[in-house]
C-alpha cells in the first residue's frame, strides 16, 4: 500500500515535471528574442495544455499531504528556500502566461514575458535543488525535524539546479519544434539541437560533483541505481538529438520528457526504503513506510483514487487529442 502510493506520488510529480517542464522551457525561450509575434506564437503553442499541466503539481502535493503527511511537513519546511523559490517561480509563470496578452501595449507584454522567463528559471532551479536535497540527505534530528536550511547550500545542489534548467530548456525547444508551424519549427529545432550539448555538460557537471560529494555517496542506498541516472539522462539526450536531426520531433519530445521523469523515479529508487536520509543521525532517517499515513487513511484515499485515475488521465488525453498537431493561422489565440 505504501509503495503503491509512493509510486503514485512519483507519477504525479514526474508527470508535472514532464508537462509543466515544457511550459517552463517555452517560458525560458521567450528570452531568446524572436519579436512580439514569435513570443506570441510560442505561447499559442502552449495554449490549451498550459492550465492542465500545473494541476499535476497541485495533485502531487495533495497526495503528499494526504498519503505522506510526515514527509510533507518535513520535506517542505526542511527545504524551505528551494520550495519557496520553486513556488514563486510557479506563481510568476502561471500569472505571467495567462495575463501577458490582456494589455494591448507590446511594451507591457514584453515586461510580462520577462516575468515568465524569471519564473521559469526559478521553478526549474527550485525543483532541481529539491531533488538534489533528497539525494544528498538532510540533517534530520532525533526529534524528527530537519535542522536549518544551510544544508541546501552545496555545490551538488547548485549543479543539479543548473542541470534542471538546461534539461527544461531542451524540453521546451523540442516541444516548440513539434508544435510550431513547419517553417518556424525548423529554426527552433536547430536551437534545440544546439541546447543538447549544453544539457549534456550540465548533467556531466552535476554527476561529477555528486560523485565527489561524501554526503551523496553516504545517503544513496542503491549506488547502482544512482549511477544509472546520469547514464540514462545522457542516453535520453542523445536520442533526442538524433531524433531532432532526423526531423522526428515527436520522438525527441518523448526522449526529453523521459529525461525529466527519470530523476524523480531514480532518486526515489536510489533512496528506497528511505525517503529522507539523515546526514547527522542514521537513526533519524525517514522511511517511506514511516512517512505514510496510517492504513485507514490510505484505504480511503485508495477508494477515491482508483475510479478517479482513469477519469483524470482520460480528460487530459482528451485535451491532448483535441488540440494535437501543429499550430497554424486557425489555432485559437488567447495567452
Amino acid at each position: 500500500m505504501d509503495l503503491a502510493w509512493y509510486a503514485l506520488l512519483g507519477l504525479f510529480f514526474g508527470a508535472y515535471l514532464v508537462l509543466a517542464g515544457y511550459d517552463y522551457g517555452v517560458g525560458l525561450l521567450l528570452a531568446r528574442g524572436g519579436g512580439p509575434a514569435g513570443r506570441r506564437a510560442a505561447l499559442t503553442a502552449l495554449g490549451p495544455f498550459f492550465l492542465g499541466n500545473e494541476v499535476w503539481l497541485v495533485a502531487a502535493v495533495g497526495i503528499l499531504f494526504g498519503a505522506f503527511p510526515i514527509l510533507e511537513g518535513e520535506l517542505l519546511s526542511g527545504c524551505y528556500p528551494a520550495v519557496a523559490g520553486a513556488l514563486a517561480g510557479v506563481v510568476l509563470v502561471t500569472a505571467g502566461v495567462q495575463l501577458r496578452s490582456r494589455p494591448t501595449d507590446e511594451r507591457i507584454r514584453a515586461r510580462w514575458d520577462r516575468v515568465v522567463v524569471v519564473g521559469s528559471v526559478l521553478a526549474a532551479l527550485g525543483w532541481g535543488v529539491l531533488l538534489a536535497a533528497l539525494l544528498q540527505g538532510v540533517p534530520r534530528q532525533a526529534d524528527g525535524h530537519v535542522a536549518g536550511v544551510s544544508h541546501l547550500a552545496t555545490p551538488f545542489a547548485a549543479a543539479a539546479g543548473l542541470a534542471m534548467v538546461a534539461l527544461i530548456a531542451v524540453h521546451g525547444a523540442t516541444f516548440l519544434t513539434l508544435r510550431l508551424p513547419a517553417a518556424d519549427a525548423a529554426v527552433v529545432g536547430r536551437s534545440a539541437r544546439r541546447l543538447v550539448p549544453v544539457a549534456l555538460t550540465a548533467v556531466a557537471l552535476a554527476t561529477v560533483v555528486g560523485l565527489l560529494s561524501a554526503r551523496v555517496r553516504e545517503s544513496v542506498q542503491r549506488p547502482a541505481v544512482a549511477v544509472l541516472l546520469p547514464v540514462l539522462l545522457v542516453a535520453a539526450l542523445l536520442v533526442a538529438r538524433a531524433a531532432l536531426a532526423r526531423r522526428r520531433p515527436g520522438w525527441a519530445l518523448v526522449a526529453t520528457g523521459a529525461a525529466l521523469a527519470l530523476p524523480v523515479a531514480l532518486v526515489g529508487a536510489a533512496l528506497w526504503p528511505y525517503v529522507l536520509v539523515s546526514t547527522t543521525d542514521p537513526g533519524a532517517s525517514l522511511t517511506v513506510a514511516d512517512a505514510a499515513a496510517s492504513a485507514p487513511t490510505l484505504r480511503l484515499l485508495g477508494w477515491v483514487a482508483l475510479p478517479l485515475l482513469p477519469a483524470l488521465l482520460g480528460f487530459q488525453a482528451m485535451c491532448w487529442w483535441v488540440f494535437r498537431g501543429r499550430t497554424d493561422g486557425r489555432a485559437p489565440v488567447y495567452w
Partner: protein, 416 residues
C-alpha cells in the same frame, strides 16, 4: 518577532487574497453556466456575447485564484509542518481528495473551454463549462470539509499524540460543515451577482454602447444578488446553533465556554483560551453589511419598465455597494478562523504546536516575499479586470473567431 506570529500573518494574508478571488470565481461561473446554456438552447447570439464578455472577466480573475491557491497548499507544509505531523492522517485526506476530484479536473476543463471556441462542438464546449462549475463547487465542498474538521475535529482517535482516521463519514456530517458550506456558496453567488450588477450599472451610467447587453446582465446580477443575500442570511444565522454547540468559546463567554476553558486548563495546562476580540468584531460588522445588502430586494421592483436605469441613482447605489460583499466575506472568514484561536484544530492541537521549526529570518523573508508577490499580482489583476470590464463587450479576446485563412498568421513587415 516570533515565527508563530509571522506564520499566522502569512496565512492570513494569503488566505484573504485567495478568498477575494475564489468567491468571484465560484459566483461568476454559476452565472456563466446559465448564460452559455441559454445560448446553446436558444441559439440567440446575445447570450454568446454575454458569455464571452463575462467569461473573459472570469478567466482573468481565475488566474489569481490558482496562484494564491498553490501558495496556500504549499504553506501547510512550509509553515505548518506540525499540522501534517499531528493531524495529517485526518486533515490531509479531504485536501488530497480536493486536489484530485476537483481542482485537477477544473483547470483541465477550463483550458479546453478557453481554447475550445469555434473548435469543439457546441454541446461539448458547454459540457466543459458545466464541468468547470461542478468541480469548482466540489472544490469548495472539500475545502470546507477540511476547514470544518479544524473547527470541530471528529472521526478520529489519538494514539501517541497523533490523530488517526476512524470514521470518514463523521467528517461529512460535521455539524460545523453543512450550514457553513451553504453560507460560503451563497456568499460567492452574492459576490458574483453584485459584481455583474455593478459593472453593468457603470456601463449604463456612462451610456456606453451595448445598452441591451448590460441591461440584461444588470437584471441577472440583481436577481441573483437578491436571492443570494437571503440565502446568505439564512445559512449565516442557522450556523449560530451548531457553532455554539461545538465551539462554545468562539462567540460566547457563557457557562459552557467557561466549562470548556476549565477542561482545557486541566488537560493542556493554564493558558489564554479566549479567542481575540477581532473575531466578534468581524462577526458584528459582517452581520451589519449582510443586513444592509438585504436592501437589494428594494431595488427589484424598479426593474419594472427599467425604472432602475431611468432613475439612475439606483445604479450609483449598486456601484458604490460593490466593495461591501468583498469586505463582508473577509470579515466572515476572520470571525470563523480567528474565533478558533488559540487552536489550529479546536481543542486538539494548539496553534503554537503546529508551526514549523524554521528560523524567524526565513519565515520573515517568506512573509515579505510572498505578500509582496501576491499583493502586487492581486492589484495588477484587479486593474486588468477593471480595464476589461470598462472596455465593454466589443470583441473580447475570449472566443474570438480565428483569423480568416487567406491572412497569414504572423504578418511580416513588408519592408523587413
Amino acid at each position: 518577532m516570533d515565527t508563530l506570529l509571522l506564520a499566522r500573518l502569512q496565512f492570513a494574508t494569503t488566505t484573504s487574497i485567495h478568498f477575494l478571488f475564489v468567491v468571484v470565481t465560484l459566483g461568476l461561473v454559476t452565472l456563466l453556466v446559465g448564460m452559455q446554456t441559454a445560448w446553446v438552447i436558444t441559439g440567440n447570439p446575445a447570450w454568446e456575447r454575454l458569455t464571452r464578455y463575462w467569461g473573459q472577466l472570469y478567466v482573468i480573475n481565475y488566474v489569481l485564484g490558482i496562484a494564491t491557491g498553490i501558495v496556500m497548499e504549499f504553506q501547510f507544509g512550509l509553515n505548518w509542518s506540525g499540522l501534517s505531523r499531528y493531524v495529517g492522517n485526518v486533515f490531509g485526506a479531504p485536501l488530497a481528495i480536493e486536489t484530485l476530484v476537483a481542482f485537477f479536473l477544473e483547470s483541465t476543463f477550463l483550458g479546453m473551454w478557453i481554447f475550445g471556441w469555434h473548435r469543439l462542438r457546441k454541446g461539448v464546449h458547454l459540457a466543459l463549462l458545466w464541468g468547470v462549475a461542478l468541480t469548482a463547487y466540489a472544490s469548495a465542498f472539500w475545502i470546507m470539509v477540511a476547514n470544518s474538521w479544524l473547527q470541530n475535529p471528529v472521526g478520529y482517535e489519538l494514539r501517541d499524540g497523533i490523530a488517526h482516521l476512524t470514521d470518514f463519514g463523521a467528517l461529512l456530517t460535521n455539524p460545523s460543515l453543512g450550514m457553513a458550506f451553504g453560507h460560503v456558496v451563497s456568499a460567492a453567488l452574492l459576490v458574483g451577482g453584485m459584481l455583474m450588477a455593478a459593472v453593468s450599472a457603470w456601463h449604463l451610467i456612462r451610456r456606453t454602447p451595448d445598452f441591451v447587453l448590460f441591461r440584461t446582465s444588470l437584471r441577472i446580477g440583481l436577481v441573483t444578488a437578491a436571492l443570494a443575500i437571503t440565502l446568505v442570511q439564512g445559512f449565516g444565522f442557522a450556523q449560530f446553533g451548531p457553532v455554539g454547540a461545538v465551539q462554545p468559546t468562539k462567540f460566547g463567554q457563557g457557562p459552557e465556554a467557561q466549562a470548556m476553558v476549565a477542561e482545557w486548563t486541566a488537560r493542556f495546562g493554564p493558558g489564554d483560551y479566549t479567542p481575540p476580540v477581532l473575531a466578534s468584531v468581524g462577526l458584528g460588522f459582517m452581520i451589519l453589511i449582510g443586513l444592509t445588502l438585504g436592501c437589494v430586494w428594494l431595488l427589484l421592483p424598479l426593474l419594472f419598465r427599467d425604472w432602475i436605469i431611468r432613475l439612475r441613482f439606483p445604479l450609483w447605489l449598486i456601484l458604490l455597494a460593490l466593495p461591501l460583499p468583498f469586505v463582508a466575506v473577509i470579515l466572515g472568514w476572520i470571525s470563523r478562523e480567528v474565533g478558533r484561536q488559540p487552536w489550529v484544530a479546536y481543542g486538539l492541537l494548539p496553534t503554537e504546536q503546529a508551526v514549523s521549526p524554521v528560523g524567524a529570518p526565513v519565515m520573515l523573508a517568506s512573509l515579505i516575499g510572498f505578500s509582496l508577490l501576491l499583493g502586487t499580482l492581486a492589484v495588477t489583476n484587479w486593474v486588468l479586470l477593471a480595464r476589461h470590464a470598462a472596455r465593454g463587450a466589443v470583441d473580447p479576446a475570449l472566443g474570438r473567431p480565428p483569423a480568416p485563412p487567406n491572412e497569414p498568421a504572423h504578418p511580416e513587415p513588408a519592408l523587413a
